[in-house]
Amino acid sequence: MEIAAIQTHGLTRRFGELTAVDDVTFSVAPGQFFGFLGPNGAGKSTTIKMLTGLLEPSAGTIEILGKPFSASALDLKRQIGVVPEGMALFGRLTATEYLRFVGRMYGLDKETANRRTEELLEFMQLANENKKLVTDFSHGMQKKLALAAAVIHGPKVLFLDEPFEGVDAIAAGMLKTMLQGMINRGATIFLTTHVLEIVERLCSHVAIIHQGRLVANGALEELRAGVASTLPGAQSGQRLTLEEIFLSIVGAGDQEPAQELSWLA
């Protein structure tokens, strides 16, 4: 039996009386590009924080590459890369300084960290911005830098929380190519984003979380077929977009605004 790259069982996180993530169980196979979707406040970021050791689960287990994962699992932490929600950059460093720092924090030797820094900056087209402080970068440039920092140590599993937000079309295309390249070489990518078109294009498998609970999980084609089968006769034959699948599962498509905001122009 193949060892899952990411496996959760009964993953739960409570904040006081609120259960942000409720009994979430799923598995991501090695080499999968896994899209983790959900409406705002559904529990996506909370889940990704637990999966990367930034937040302790209230209950449930996490396995990464077949081993139990916790904040103190240092060997596993070196196998994963993360673009966290707020990017966690140090604003008063240059991009070179930041990447060198991150490389060293992941245990790369100095020479390797320096070489990879140069290669990544070149690839991300940030090499010419070397004198600027990170705080002076545009949002898209910061995203690219955050992604470079997430991959500098060559992770086997990559967690990306909204990596394409604020990134221009050219850079987004470049990043998608890079991520696809990683998948081709056997890496696993766990992606959360609101841009469903990206998920549809990149991800082979999708899970949808809604109000803290996992409401769908499987190969994109399986989900498509499953949702289509619930539609009335004439519609069941058409090829659904991910947006239609998502709205159908989350149920937002049926909801009408409680009242029209008549004072809006």
């Binding site: 904040f15 904040a71 932490k77 245990g107 402080l133």
Partner: protein, 599 residues
Amino acid sequence: MAGINGAGINGSGIGDKSIDNPEPVLAAGGGLLSPLARAQYGALAYLRWRVFVNGLRSKLGVLELGARTISFAIYALMGIGLGVGVGAAAYMMASRDQWQYFAIVFWVVCVIWQVLPIMLASFGEQFDLGSLLRFPVGFRPFFLLSVVFGLSDLSTIIGGLCCLGVLVGTTAAQPRMFAWTAPILVLFAAFNILLVRAIFAWIDRWLSQRKTREILGAVFMVLVLSMQLTNPAFWQRGHRSQGSGAHQQYRIEQLLASPWVKTANEVQSFLPPGLAAVALRQAAENQVVLALEPLGILSIFVLGAGSVLGLRLRAEYRGENLGAAPARKKAAVNSGKAVAAPPKIAAIEAEGRLGISGPIAAIIEKEIRGLFRSLPLLYAVGAPLVMVLVFSGVFIRGNSARVQAPLLAFPLCVFFAQIGFRMLFSNNLGTEGPGIQLYFLSPTSMRTVLLAKNLLHSAVFAVSMVIAGLLASLRLGQPDGVMVAATVAFLLFVLPVNLAVGNIFSLTMPFRVNPGRISRQRGSQASALFGLLFQAATLGVGAVVFEVCSLGGKLWVAIPAFLILAAIATFVWLRVLGNSDQIASERKDLLIATLMKAE
């Protein structure tokens, strides 16, 4: 190998050299000195160095460094002075074999060590260790880093200088005691370092939730007011005003002989400062075995403080992050009532209540809520009021205290109480965080924003000054009417000066204030230093006017003099307000970048 090793994506060149050739990485391990941990210490040292160097790129950064250097020199002088004082006391006691009094020295040092961190900002930029959690950092290195970063705290530096003073003083008096004094002080210092980190780690945890923050804020205010009332009431009963020096000596001896003091003395001897003193005394009396006992108990206290800190850090390390707790979801509203409610917005509601224009009322309402949810601000305003108790005591020594209180005692006490307002005045946008953007987006001028804040702060200032005045009257005796009027006129001059300077500082040297923390705050030394200089300048002007008028026997002249100064200061304040939109516009990038900066 998975990952980008050998990616060579579309000829981009990434990892071309490393295809099929795994990169050398350091062995993992959570040990304090594992190769990975050592590399991480090096990386963090590099990070701190580069952040420091890059901070000097801007003029503000250079200004900040200059201010830090001056502040450091001032604090170093304070610390050295304190260390010399403590050392002299230790020398006197050790040379006279009065080892029993060492407990007083250790208690004073311990209190300074634990209380000072919340009185003064740290020199360095505060580093949030939480940002390291995504890296493979072991718990032991994480713990060590937490303690090491704490070593640059002002309290630790001053406490360390005091310990050094005790060591030098004791050794100078009795060189044979060095071998005992040194390890005792090392343990005592270790205890204090760990305890202060533990206390603030726990306080920060409690303050991370709004509800506890508000409860603690309320408790704090009650405490401040209780102390205000209790102490003067105690002294009002006449404890002060009786007898000669010999009589007071007799009273002190009586006090020391009282059962509760004896009990307190016994209890303190089982606490770290007392234990350190007992160990020192017994070592001095050559009772080596007996000296080891308090030393052992002191070691247990060190372990205890370390464990309490470890408990908190362990939770942080595991990913406990209360600040990340999402807001509780409201029940789903299906009826649409919330949307159908009358089209009132908060500002309009506030307008009705306060009777002033919409945006100003809205900002005032928001500021009131924010003030009571921000312990650092409450503390800054409240703590000097407590200190007035101590401060006013300086003026009432002697046999018939109140009669002999100097002329300037009353205005000085009141002036002292407003020192904490510097934090409110000079960084009045600090608590806005990313919300600062709203002020630039909304059709409200920065002038209106600052005016609203100034109005509220003036009201709080007025209340605080009334309390300080009442307190000073209780302790010093009722001042005459002319003095009260002159002091009020003086404050009417001080207030607009503070507001004008504060507005300029707020727009030019802002820093983000975390309302959930009273330790590990970011700060601007430049703002703090220049703020204190302006305070000193206004005090100087006040002192000159009071002195000149009183020397001529016409104190009443101070009233119109201060009122003229107040009119000039008010004019300057209004000019600053008038120009605030222009200053804000020029500094928009700085304001947004600084206040939006992540914790």
